[in-house]
């Protein structure tokens, strides 16, 4: 068959349309580079309460990972949402302080704490009322308001929201070692809020508002995936000493888990946290998808280097729309 110019143009256009259609029908993660570690390491550490012993526990847990932190700048990103008297909403200040001290002892050049609360514009008020300001002051650790930091435009490394780029804070992009420090909680929109959802706090209010509403409209799970594929996150220390169940992340009930979860892979960390909560991680859309390209979810690719998962767990209470999460893990 003779390939004249007309036939060539039509065939090329057909191929392009066909290619684009196929690409749109494929799950996004099939088009993304597989960034999973060969094996991920997770340490479940028992901690009955927030006490001075946490630093020792963290140091011993962190040493198992043999991290090279020499001359590295460390950013701790706790979950600092709102202050509600008597309710464990935020990552506990004692744990944040212990993590800062532990990283310094392991040779880090500097440790700063940064967060950009989603609803509360007065970051300092939450910092002061939650007790984190006093904790950091006593240890001479600096705090950066990520909602108001210098911003850089970063192309997205995933395609779930359809946004092409995000503006991200300088402190996040220039830190050598970013540690997500979530509070283990259920979440009324996302099912759970763990190390990946915690990274919503690096998206700056200056650009996206309070709350970061555009991300909610793009889909909370999709936004979590794009943020976590794009913003650096090297390690996780999850606060499950006192966790939250039910109508989290603000109005749930306390659940004493007595655990801290350390991990070198956020996906593996979140899968493990979900399993500790007695919830099925595969039923959480962003976790299930993340396990296809961003990190490890399956048991056979996660090394539990400290304690094992309990034989039996009583599932965390969830809102009715999330009962599917309570299906057997």
């Amino acid at each position: 068959m003779k390939l004249d110019r007309r036939r060539f143009v039509i065939s090329a256009a057909g191929l392009a349309v066909g290619g684009m259609t196929t690409a749109r029908l494929l799950p996004e993660e099939m088009l993304l580079r597989d960034r999973r570690l060969r094996r991920s390491r997770v340490a479940i550490v028992s901690a009955e309460q927030y006490s001075e012993r946490l630093e020792e526990l963290l140091l011993s847990g962190l040493r198992e990972f043999r991290l090279n932190l020499r001359a590295k700048s460390v950013l701790l990103k706790p979950n600092l949402v709102e202050y509600i008297a008597g309710v464990e909403v935020n990552t506990n200040p004692v744990l944040v302080g212990a993590a800062a001290e532990a990283f310094l002892k392991l040779g880090a050049k500097s440790v700063v704490v940064g967060e950009g609360p989603g609803h509360q514009r007065d970051t300092y008020l939450v910092l002061a009322e939650s007790g984190l300001a006093a904790q950091l002051r006593s240890q001479k650790i600096s705090f950066v308001d990520l909602n108001r930091d210098e911003l850089f435009k970063v192309p997205l490394r995933a395609t779930y929201t359809g946004l092409e780029h995000l503006w991200l804070p300088r402190t996040v992009l220039q830190s050598d070692f970013v540690v997500s420090m979530p509070k283990i909680k259920t979440h009324h929109w996302a099912g759970v809020t763990l190390s990946m959802k915690n990274m919503f706090g690096v998206v700056p209010g200056t650009k996206y508002g309070w709350p970061k509403n555009v991300l909610h409209w793009k889909g909370i799970h999709r936004s979590i995936l794009d943020i976590c594929a794009t913003a650096p996150m090297h390690f996780v220390i999850a606060d499950g000493v006192v966790a939250m169940e039910g109508n989290g992340p603000l109005h749930g009930s306390h659940r004493h888990l007595g655990k801290i979860v350390l991990a070198d892979d956020p996906v593996a960390a979140d899968f493990t946290c979900a399993r500790l909560m007695g919830l099925n991680p595969h039923a959480v859309w962003h976790l299930d998808r993340a396990a296809h390209f961003l990190g490890n979810g399956s048991h056979d690719r996660i090394d539990l280097i400290a304690e094992g998962l309990p034989q039996k767990t009583v599932p965390f209470d969830v809102l009715p729309e999330f009962v599917s999460l309570q299906t057997p893990v």
């Binding site: 609803h119 300092y124 002061a128 009322e129 308001d145 108001r148 200056t206 650009k207 109508n247």
Partner: protein
């Protein structure tokens, strides 16, 4: 209470922190529109090279459609900062062209609930937060729903635009009325405002000090509304012992605006202003320029001079 020396010190610090581009950041190197506007307002009574340079910077930053971006280097998409810029330009009696274009953009800006399809969706499917989507105001950025702070700032800007004769159209009156109804609808059950929702998943949300204060400043012409009075009462009670100068300063601004009609506001005002003076004793240690500017504006309001006044 002699607030003038403190105000002057704050102003001098702010002047010294102006960037080479003629703007201010929150505290970092990123020049941004919100802090620049608040600082201009704090310095407005003393014509100076600082204010002139800042106004030039803002005018050069205006987008073609009349709006303003969030910060220097941002994409040319309009956002909520258009309202504080319009306020700043009007307060400094700046050239009318850019103000008119800014006002026009605000009048045409419609949050997501303005679309009937989204209203229907918010009423039927997305009903885990309870609000009336037919009452809408302004959003932080285009394509999203109404929130309290952008709506309150825009209401202040539009009411001042009308008061100062920049625009007295029926369209402006309609948008102010609609925006006011949105604020009243989104009020927390016990008074005050969270960021934009009153109840989520069946649980009433707690108000925030700064959001409540800015909303109250926008609603001073509705002082007889029970909800407004309840919110004022909540604010007066909540402000005592507030450790943050930013929230406390917004609270003082709001309480000062209502001292004429509320005994509680009048009685609480002096004490809160003294607390603010105490929190600003080591003023140079406050890195956030918005906080400094709002502190200066709050102390200024003690003498009856409020830049956010919308009463006729």
């Amino acid at each position: 209470m002699d607030t003038a020396p403190v105000i002057r010190v704050v102003q001098e610090i702010l002047e010294s922190r102006q960037s080479r581009k003629g703007a201010w950041g929150f505290g970092s190197d990123q020049d941004a529109v919100e802090p620049t506007c608040l600082v201009i307002l704090a310095l407005r009574h003393q014509p100076s090279v600082y204010v002139e340079r800042a106004l030039d910077t803002l005018e050069n930053l205006q987008n073609r459609d009349g709006s303003w971006p969030a910060f220097l280097g941002d994409e040319p998409e309009g956002c909520w900062t258009t309202a504080p810029v319009v306020l700043s330009l009007m307060a400094t009696r700046r050239e009318a062209g850019s103000v008119h274009r800014g006002i026009q953009w605000l009048l045409n800006a419609r949050s997501r609930e303005a679309n009937w399809l989204w209203r229907w969706k918010l009423r039927t499917v997305d009903n885990s937060v309870q609000f009336d989507p037919s009452k809408f105001g302004w959003s932080w950025i285009s394509g999203t729903t109404s929130w309290v702070v952008p709506t309150a700032f825009t209401l202040i800007a539009l009411q001042q635009a009308s008061k100062r004769g920049f625009c007295r159209s029926a369209h402006l009156r309609e948008r102010v009325e609609l925006g006011t109804s949105m604020l009243l609808d989104r009020m927390c059950p016990g008074g005050g405002w969270n960021s934009g929702n009153r109840v989520a998943f069946g649980v009433p949300l707690a108000p925030h000090i700064d959001t409540t204060s800015i909303a109250l400043l926008a609603l001073t012409r509705h002082e007889e509304e029970q909800g407004v009075q309840r919110s004022l009462q909540w604010l007066v009670n909540r402000l005592a012992g507030c450790p943050s100068p930013y929230s406390l300063a917004w609270g003082v601004l709001a309480i000062a605006a209502y001292r004429g009609i509320s005994l509680e506001a009048r009685e609480g005002l002096r004490g809160r202003a003294q607390e603010l003076m105490r929190l600003t004793e080591n003023v140079a240690s406050i890195e956030d320029n918005c906080t400094l500017a709002v502190c200066a504006l709050a102390l200024e309001a003690m003498s009856g001079d409020s830049v956010f006044d919308v009463r006729t």
